[in-house]
Amino acid sequence: MKNSKGWFWIFVGPVLLAFVIVVIVPMITGIYYSFTDWNGIGNDANWVGLKNYTKIFTEDKDFLNAFLFTAKFALVSLITINVIGFGLALLMTKDFKLTNFFRSIFFMPNMIGGLILGFVWQFIFTKGFDSLGKLLNWSFLRGWLADPTTGFWGLVILMSWQMSGYMMVIYIAAIENIPESSLEAAKIDGANAWQRLRYIIMPLVAPAFTVGLFLTLSNSFKLYDQNLSLTAGGPHNSTQMLAMNIYNTAFKFNKLGLAQAKAVIFLITVAVITLTQIYYSKRREVEM
């Protein structure tokens, strides 16, 4: 390893270059634009200092609403996705015949693009639920997505359905990595199923929880396509999430500068939240 430095750059160089060009440079120009009043079309971006940022915090009610809605959604879907995913993983690691078949079935939704899923579920919620409600005379099944509450739960159901299978795969891998001997030892010591789950499986799966929670949290925060195709933010922007609010500011209202400022705040928020989560989850992990 005499010229390891040379090798280092040969390996890292190309990727680093690509990363700088497509991530770092646009990010810096983006931060620059957040201090301007650029409308996205002309070449006249005037420096306005912190005006965009103060506007977001003082005037923009919609952004705050979108923020709260997104946070609420992220929290709820974080729980549902991981509980369902972990539950499925526990089931799918039991020995029975069709496990492989079911694993692929549960993973399947994840292979479909978010936009299409949104439209499929929109059909189910507005048409399927409606017909069912008519048939059974259950009024709560009718008029889904017409008010903020059903819009919210529609999104949660959609995302849980899509993401649980993915989380399941991660948890299955983790559960199957637990050495048989520890479980057996616990069994011989008289631990019942719940105790084995709580004190053997859960701690040993903790690294997977770190990953799973991170993925669901950041995905829920950045959600756009499902949001767009399922509710498009409606009714009256009550189910509009952060990413959509930013997109609309940029492309519907033609305020790219303001949208960039929102995006910067968005980036910082997501980073802070996910890093905090990783920090705390990491502490729970145990070494074998």
Partner: protein, 452 residues
Amino acid sequence: MFKSKKVLTLAIVMVLALSLVVTGCSNDAKDEKANSGNEGATTEKSGEKAEIDIFQFKVEIAKELEEAAKAYEEENPNVKINIQTVGGGDDYGAALKAAFQSGNEPDIFNVGGPQDIKDWMDKLEDLSDQPWVDKALEGVLSGATVDDKVYALPFNLEGYGFVYNKEIFKAAGIDAEKIVDFKSLEEAVKTLDKKIKDGELEEEFPLLESVFEFPAKETWITGLHTSNVALGQEFDSSIDAFNAEEVEFKYGDSLKKIIDLQADYSMHRDDKQKLNAVDYTTQAEEGIAIERVAIIQQGNWVYGLAEGVDEEVAEKLDILPIPLEGGKEDSIPVGVPMHWVVNKDSDDAVKDAAKDFLNWLYTSEKGKEYVVNEFHFIPPLTGYEDLEVEDPLGRAVSRYAEAGKTTPWVFMGYPTAWGMEGLGNNIQKYLSGEFTWEQVISESQAQWKEMR
């Protein structure tokens, strides 16, 4: 063993790195080719070769436009036309901005109303000297004119009103000719509603369940079109609206009546909040086209949708006026939805070819045939006397236009996104009971002021 593995990894890495470099190169090569294409156009100036890039938004005519371009290419072998279509409203705007920012500027593209023209002003070629300018119908160029210079060619005329099913009206014994104001319309709706409830029309129209379908989810229908019925009489033109610092809602109460009438006689009359989930498809294809409802507030463009579902039903459709109480009650709003513009920064040869193509499309015999018979456009220019619009809704719009019973489209002049994101959302809140009508008005007025 160890060594071979090392060699293998190295090989893989080199391949990856190389592929990165190679793809980079190939992109460059492509760009160069594209550039040289444009340069070719300038160097061989004398009308030799020009490549026109068209970036247009009307999905419905994508194929037909392609054919028209081919016909033009046959007549002008040295011109090549590339057409790119990106569908519908917002997506088009975003895609167009992306195209410009990436440096792949199209030579012909589309803009909507005054706000669009102002936004894109730096890029627009002055088209005042074009032959079609003199042929334009009265008023259609108002949205494309800035300081007496014409910058854009109108796509077509479109009009909307209450699209209704003639056969249902006949079966219910209603004379549509007599519906000329709000009172007579309300009367007719009540009669129809009663007959539907009593089951009198069930035999003939088994699916018929309500008079109206009101898709409040689609804020372009409520926030732009419905509101335009009132604001189109408050403002004289889209330019007038565009220059207005404030909106008064002079006919606010009449607008409320039009909205209430549609909501109160729709499927969800008992729980109007549910109208906020009703979409365009439910209104058109799953509404009027299957004879589930008798009237919808829509424009001549739904003919194609209805025809796709049931040709027979599509032929039964006609348009009633949208009566604004206290204003012009027997008219429908007619306007220009989109414009063609030429990019000022394109090479001269390309610009000339682009202008010539647009002129050919709208004034030559062959082009006119495409416009009317293939695109199903209602032409914005004169000189189409011998070409009859084929579909019943298009004919209805022409009928209103010829009789002078039209009001202008001013929603193009609303502040950016005010109609859909502002007023449209406020109407949703009104339907869900969160807002009273007074709040809708005051909130929308405040939003207008703020967005100006």
